[in-house]
């Protein structure tokens, strides 16, 4: 059966699928195991839901295991996640012991499969300690860090480093995220799934429906930012930019779409500030959408004229990739992975201030033909570089590279 590969060929091109088949041929029959901490929710699970069946269709014996954990374990790994992103989070000894205990327990359950595998991909910090609990492992183990760990909180990184150093290789999303580790550190940017609800093509009436649902006027320019209400995403800066532009383009509309209920106290404060800043303007729409409103977000992105991601700090910025895939010009903060995706006058504009964002919004609204041109280039740039098929190609290349030795050049016969 090759249904999934055929479906991706329809989006990414048959060439890309042929390339994958050729790369996978020497790996057929090999055992590959992915381990992460959740089957549902989050970017990693989203990618694995498609990546694993694709690898299976390529006749690589691929499986996916999920860690079982308790409250202390998940509290600990949530803190680790925040600490790797630079927050000064102290993790108690009790939580660290729970982390190690849960890894030991999972190793008991998974050991046979992991020790027998040719390649094991361990995703993020949660299962990182499994390696030390599989002493008879015969394959290569790779730690895949999906987090922006460029400026981690040192004590937490030092703790994790003792586990991660033992791996055969690690993967980071950007060169700037790589750490000092005694093994090769591969650079593999993340990707979007073009066939997921978030990114698939939608019927025109479903896109049109969002205008009515959210009281938007389809005849007037629509600006959109999709992100959590977080200071690093600078929603207040977006409102400021909108206000500046309004003097010149009074009929524009702005949608700030983000998560609703949150257990993040800082998020609540930012949301309150955003509501206050937007209070007197009927053309600013704050949408609190549930976490699974993927099709709704997709439709909003397709309805928008310009998409903003005016982040002050950003990891890779997959929301930018998603916007570009919908053929929209993106105005993004000049930071993190946005720099890799947004090139001025080609796929959008990078900005450092609300004034800069306002300037670029005005420019684009005055040049509708340029918006179409930039949107078209943005979509093709994503097609060539940031679809799941490229991500898979790089995983296969990495596996081949580790399998045949860390030479600069590997010639397969």
């Amino acid at each position: 059966m090759t249904n999934l590969l055929d479906a991706y060929a329809g989006v990414a091109g048959q060439d890309v699928i042929n390339h994958l088949r050729q790369l996978a041929r020497p790996l057929q029959g090999m055992k590959v195991v992915h381990v992460n901490s959740t089957k549902m929710g989050g970017g990693v699970a989203e990618i694995l839901h498609k990546l694993v069946p694709l690898m299976q269709e390529l006749e690589i014996n691929t499986s996916w295991e999920v860690m079982d954990g308790n409250d202390d374990f998940f509290q600990c790994t949530k803190n680790m996640h925040n600490a790797l992103q630079g927050n000064h989070v102290r993790i108690s000894e009790k939580l660290l012991r729970a982390y190690e205990q849960v890894n030991r327990e999972n190793a008991e359950r998974l050991r046979a499969g992991l020790e027998d595998a040719d390649f094991v991909f361990i995703h993020d910090p949660q299962p990182a300690n499994l390696l030390q609990n599989c002493p008879k492992r015969r394959g290569k183990w790779i730690w895949r860090c999906h987090i922006d760990a460029s400026h981690p909180y040192r004590p937490v990184w030092k703790y994790l480093q003792q586990f991660v150093s033992g791996y055969d290789a690690s993967i980071f999303s950007l060169a700037g995220f790589a750490k000092s580790l005694p093994h090769p550190q591969y650079i593999i940017p993340p990707s979007i799934d073009p066939l997921s609800e978030k990114n698939m093509d939608l019927p025109g009436d479903e896109i049109d429906a969002v205008y009515g649902e959210f009281q938007l006027d389809p005849q007037r320019p629509l600006l959109l930012q999709v992100s959590r209400f977080d200071r690093f995403k600078d929603p207040l800066g977006v409102i400021q930019a909108f206000r500046i532009v309004k003097k010149f383009v009074p009929d524009q509309q702005l949608v700030l779409a983000g998560g609703g209920a949150t257990d993040d106290p800082e998020g609540e404060i930012v949301l309150r500030e955003v509501r206050e800043a937007a209070a007197e303007d009927q053309d600013i729409h704050i949408l609190l959408l549930p976490a699974d409103a993927h099709r709704k977000i997709n439709a909003l992105q397709r309805a928008a004229d310009i998409i903003l991601q005016k982040s002050i700090k950003e990891g890779f910025g997959l929301t930018v990739t998603e916007a570009m895939w919908k053929g929209k010009p993106v105005i993004g903060g000049d930071t993190g992975g946005i720099r890799l995706q947004v090139t001025n006058f080609n796929t959008g504009f990078r900005v450092s201030t609300p004034e800069g964002a306002a300037l670029r919004i005005r420019y684009l609204l005055r040049h509708p033909q340029k918006m179409i041109e930039i949107g078209g280039k943005a979509r093709e740039f994503v097609r060539d570089n940031f679809l799941l098929t490229r991500h898979l190609r790089e995983y296969l290349t990495l596996i081949l590279s580790l399998h045949y030795g860390a030479k600069d050049r590997i010639e397969l016969s």
Partner: protein, 231 residues
Amino acid sequence: MTETTVQPSPGMGHGDFVIKDCALIAIATGSRAMTLKELRDGLRTIDEASIFYHFWGGLLQPRFEEREYNNDFAAWAWYHLHDATLAERMAVIDPIGFASLEALRGELLDIIEERLDEEEYLPWLQATSPFEFIRSQIVVFDTHKRAASPEELVRLFPDISASSIFYHFIDARRRLSHHGNDFSFWLAGFDGRYQELCNRLNGIDPYFGSLTDLKSELNDLFQEYFREVVI
């Protein structure tokens, strides 16, 4: 570990043209520079595979193809050091014109040294983002497609992938002693019958534009040549 093979692609020069394909993967070297002095120091010792990557890797790695500055060093000088003079001098370097990556390294170092001498503030100027030295690994595989004659190669050409073009036209510069391309190398084995075609192929500048553009240019050249020959 570093291993650089400077050899013709197996199967080239005699018999069938073996169409190969490749995939590139980037690896962080752990070396980074925040100032021009640090860039110079990094360049002195970095593996030449990293220099190759920063000039050519963009063709196969995520990077926008219509870049203002077409190598990573020049782009960093412009976007992160904000030194237009240096960016322009680095951008104009034509990597094809250098006999080896070592010679290219020497040219880069000369330009940086010259610029450091010109401006007193430059050695201390902090970039807005570091230059990350990256190297790459290339995995080469056989597509199992063969062309027994130049005419057959032309027929197969439209179905050759962009990464295959990278292998035969760009990567070949590292493998072939005269820094040519696999097509010319193979055609040269036909006792001079295709010398004119080789000359035209050697005249193509692959540095600007994308692999798709390059493929299209090569395809047009092949088609045109054989149309002329038939006429």
